[in-house]
């Protein structure tokens, strides 16, 4: 390393406040008798100062700056450099304290006024290029952003730049992915609310709902922080999925490690890859890290447990209980639509992940009061964690009054189509996270009493419908392709 390179290194360290005493001595030795290096240092300092000045981006700071400068100048006018050098042994504080003007005392008032006028203009340059905390890279369905002092944007779009604020995925079939500047990505899906802090390091608040994250390595002293109602997660670089509810948080880690603090008692644990933990609001609940359960290819709902959206109608003498689709007002392509939605959680909590396998099918039973086009949907994750996609299939259902409005529908997995082109073509091989059904702008009196996922295979006996006769023709609700 030649003397110029060494000078540059030392001078940069000085400007960053990172120079120790031996470095200062070395810097002094280098510039002594070398006017060229001295000039370079002065040039650099001058630009450094002006850039720092520009960055003082509020009117109050500008006013503070002028008064501070005016008040300080008598001492600085003659002893500026000595002052700087006296500070060196302690390390020059980096933040704002290097903001000192190089103006002659007699010209300060005029110059400071000019500077203030200029800052307003210069600030726009910084403001114009001010980076986002993150950017929306993908979204589908009803996703809403509240930021900028409380301004609500219903129709936020891909490419939208985000600073501090709250991102809400409003419906069972909605989701959004945002990317941070370092390439880390976060996806929320279903009904989820995520607040992004303006502060560094990356700090997120998952108030409720599901989040999956692919986090690139973070500085060890500045992990990504994810807060939930019951836990704090410190993430240095990993892939993970989080589900947050008011009373508990479940964390599943696919890669890397995540440090978890249970808020109720301050207990801390680390969750390695392929493991999970539940942080409950109940201090007596188990907080041990367990291996993620092996996937299964069949699943049976156990309503009302697992209901995400809808109204549970208890069992009556003549009918099973059912999860009634209830209205949800959502924007779709800037149009307000009422969806009547019933949604269930599948691979949630401690339950094993339900994998969708080729030839598998759903059997849905419930009721419907009037003919309608019903949309059935799936939210999926990749087998090793992380959001994979949403899939949907539509069925026109007719009412057959004589069968007491019962519904019994089979849905083959191969019939489900991706909601977005970027999703895998088929849900086969993915983990089913949520299941939902809905009608749009029509309350068809839809309710679901059970949903069953069965894999293909001759060993699988065809289940008997519960509420209809064995006669196919008289089966409760007949699909119309």
């Amino acid at each position: 390393m030649n003397s110029d390179e060494r000078f540059i290194e030392l001078w940069n360290d000085y400007l960053e406040g990172d120079l120790d005493e031996s470095g200062i001595a070395e810097l002094q030795a280098l510039v002594t008798g070398d006017d060229r290096l001295l000039g370079m240092a002065a040039d650099s300092y001058q630009v450094h100062r002006l850039l720092g000045l520009i960055a003082q981006d509020s009117a109050s700071r500008q006013e503070d700056f002028v008064s501070e400068t005016l008040a300080r100048l008598p001492a600085e006018d003659a002893h500026f450099v000595d002052g700087v050098m006296q500070h060196l042994p302690q390390g020059t504080p980096r933040k704002r304290t290097t903001a000192r003007m190089l103006l002659n005392k007699s010209r300060v008032a005029i110059a400071a006024a000019a500077v203030v006028v200029l800052i307003a203009g210069v600030y726009f340059l910084f403001a114009k290029v001010e980076p986002e905390i993150a950017r929306i890279t993908e979204l589908s369905g009803s996703v809403q952003w509240t930021g900028d002092g409380g301004r609500v944007i219903h129709d936020i779009e891909v490419g939208s730049s985000l600073r501090g604020g709250t991102l809400e995925s409003l419906s069972a079939d909605s989701w959004s992915t945002l990317a941070f500047r370092d390439g880390s990505t976060i996806t929320i899906s279903g009904q989820s609310i995520l607040t992004i802090s303006e502060r560094e390091p990356k700090e997120l608040y998952l108030h409720v709902g599901s989040l999956s994250a692919s986090v690139l390595p973070q500085p060890t002293t500045r992990p990504m922080l994810i807060h939930t109602p019951t836990a704090k997660l410190e993430v240095l670089g990993t892939r993970l999925a989080v589900e947050a509810e008011p009373a508990s948080t479940i964390l599943r880690v696919s890669e890397g490690r995540v440090r978890v603090t249970r808020l109720v008692d301050g207990s801390v644990t680390e969750v390695p890859a392929k493991h999970q933990v539940v942080a409950s609001a109940n201090r007596l609940a188990d907080f041990s890290v367990t291996r993620r359960p092996e996937p299964v290819s069949s699943w049976q709902s156990s309503l009302p447990r697992g209901a995400i959206y809808g109204e549970w109608l208890p069992e009556l003498e003549e009918s099973n209980g059912g999860l009634r689709a209830t209205p949800m007002l959502l924007y779709r392509q800037k149009e307000l639509i009422t969806f009547y939605v019933a949604a269930l959680a599948v691979s949630h909590g401690q339950s094993p992940p339900a994998v969708l396998t080729s030839g598998g099918k759903f059997r849905v039973r419930g009721q419907i009061e009037s003919a309608a086009e019903v949309y059935f949907g799936l939210t999926t994750h990749h087998a090793d964690g992380g959001f994979a996609g949403k899939y949907v299939v539509a069925r026109k259902l007719e009412v057959i009054q004589k069968t007491d409005e019962h519904l019994d529908v089979e849905l083959h997995l191969e019939d489900f189509k991706p909601q977005e082109r970027d999703f895998p073509d088929s849900p086969i091989g993915l983990v089913l996270v949520d299941w939902w059904c809905c009608t749009a702008n029509v309350d068809a009196g839809l309710s679901v009493s059970s949903v069953e996922l069965t894999p293909a295979g001759p060993q699988q006996p065809e289940p008997e419908p519960l509420d209809v006769s064995a006669n196919t023709e008289s089966a409760a609700h007949k699909e119309k392709s």
């Binding site: 540059i8 290194e9 001078w11 940069n12 360290d13 960053e16 810097l27 002094q28 510039v31 002594t32 008798g33 006017d35 001295l38 000039g39 370079m40 240092a41 002065a42 040039d43 650099s44 300092y45 001058q46 630009v47 450094h48 002006l50 850039l51 720092g52 000045l53 520009i54 960055a55 981006d57 006018d77 500026f80 450099v81 000595d82 700087v84 050098m85 933040k95 704002r96 190089l102 103006l103 002659n104 010209r107 005029i110 110059a111 000019a114 500077v115 200029l118 203009g121 210069v122 340059l125 910084f126 290029v129 980076p131 500047r181 370092d182 560094e200 390595p217 500085p219 002293t221 500045r222």
Partner: protein, 95 residues
């Protein structure tokens, strides 16, 4: 032995004797020079001065070493200084 602080002070005093109009002009030119930087370079200035992000974080974000980030900042300050000087010279202003 000549003291470096004296030398630096002399140089800074020379610059501080600039008339206020020149200070104003220097800021204006710096604004223009910043605008002329590519976004991939301007982000270093933004991180360092507007957001006050630590060098380690800047290094992580840019996929470089801390030393490389320091060097980049030095180059940028140097380039901005030369840009300002060139613009002032083009307008016949003393620099």
């Amino acid at each position: 032995m000549r003291y470096a602080p004296d030398l630096l002070q002399r140089e800074l005093e020379r610059r501080s004797s600039e008339p206020p109009e020149l200070q104003e002009s220097r800021l204006k030119h710096l604004q223009a020079c910043l605008g002329g930087l590519g976004e991939h370079l301007r982000r270093f200035i933004r991180w360092r001065y507007a957001e006050e992000i630590p060098l380690e974080e800047m290094a992580a974000r840019s996929g470089r070493s801390v030393a490389a980030v320091k060097k980049q900042l030095w180059k940028l300050r140097r380039a901005l200084h030369e840009c300002v000087q060139a613009r002032m010279a083009a307008e016949g202003e003393p620099s």
